[in-house]
């Protein structure tokens, strides 16, 4: 959704098209992931509190640097988790997530190249912090799933691979894990802004419906 908001606002026409294409890819990925969760017995979320997004996605991005940092760092963190699932021992995920990884390769190339071009500044450390929080603390659920073989990587692997991929390291400031929400995978309160939620739930489009 945040990618799509930039499909007419990126610095070049090519980047507009890439933003739209990556947004469409990620909608497809969400559909596959939600379908897999349903098959694995997780009930659908029923209200907005069910959105477990990182704080980085709470509000629309106002600067291209924020897009670049999300594309290069956060998207890479999500991709590494998909890779860990695709190489784990859950058959549904092993068979379904491979195509996702092929598509995500181009998101990574896009993010890496723009990170070289754009001065992403403060956006990069923020994207890093939120990636680390999203992966979670050592010795918690991700490491348990790694021990059970459901994930191919543990927390330390994910952090190391992310640093290798992105070419930068996590900012030194520590995350306050006492505030960490295990389900929403973030330390900050809040959620997606009202306007975006209305769009996600199709409410924003209702105004175009003929009145009865």
């Amino acid at each position: 959704m945040r990618y799509a908001e930039w499909c007419i606002a990126a610095p070049s026409l090519e980047a507009d098209i890439a933003a739209a294409a990556m947004g469409l890819d990620d909608i497809g990925h969400s559909r596959v992931l939600y379908g897999s969760l349903r098959e694995l017995g997780t009930p659908d979320g029923t209200d907005e509190s069910g959105y477990a997004n990182v704080p980085y996605l709470d509000k629309p991005w106002t600067d291209w640097a924020q897009f670049v940092a999300a594309n290069a760092v956060l998207d890479s963190a999500f991709t590494l988790m998909i890779e860990a699932l695709a190489n784990g021992n859950v058959e549904v995920l092993r068979s379904r997530l491979k195509k996702m990884l092929q598509e995500e390769r181009y998101h990574f190339l896009h993010g890496r190249s723009w990170m070289r071009e754009a001065k992403a500044g403060d956006a990069i450390p923020r994207a890093w912090r939120e990636s680390v929080a999203w992966i979670g603390p050592e010795g918690d659920d991700v490491d348990e799933l790694r021990r059970a073989g459901q994930l191919a990587y543990g927390v330390r692997d994910l952090r190391r691979l992310l640093a290798e991929r992105v070419g930068t390291t996590a900012p030194p400031d520590e995350i306050d894990w006492t505030k960490w929400d295990r389900v929403r995978r973030r330390t900050e309160p809040g959620g997606i802004d009202r306007e975006t939620l209305d769009m996600l739930q199709g409410l924003a489009e209702k105004r175009y419906m003929p009145s009865a």
Binding site: E14, I17, A18, Y106, H110, R116, E117
Partner: protein, 74 residues
């Protein structure tokens, strides 16, 4: 160069693709990007609407032209 509106330095790349192994590669378009990474991302985003079995990009300045339309071949 006409494409310097965003990036200081860019290269032009021609995009080639085919739908079946038996078909020859054909030029389907071109992209302009500052490096190979972004050129790959742009080519895939722009020209992926069809079911290609293969896609590749070539920097236009790597192509050696023997002759062009209107040139004498000998």
């Amino acid at each position: 160069m006409a494409y310097s509106r965003v990036h200081a330095h860019v290269r032009e790349y021609d995009v080639f693709a085919r739908k079946a192994r038996v078909e020859p590669l054909r030029q389907v378009g071109s992209v302009v990007a500052p490096d190979d990474d972004l050129a790959m991302a742009y080519a895939r985003a722009t020209y992926d609407e069809e079911r290609w079995v293969e896609m590749m990009i070539v920097p236009r300045d790597a192509v050696i032209r023997l002759w062009a339309p209107g040139d004498s071949e000998t």
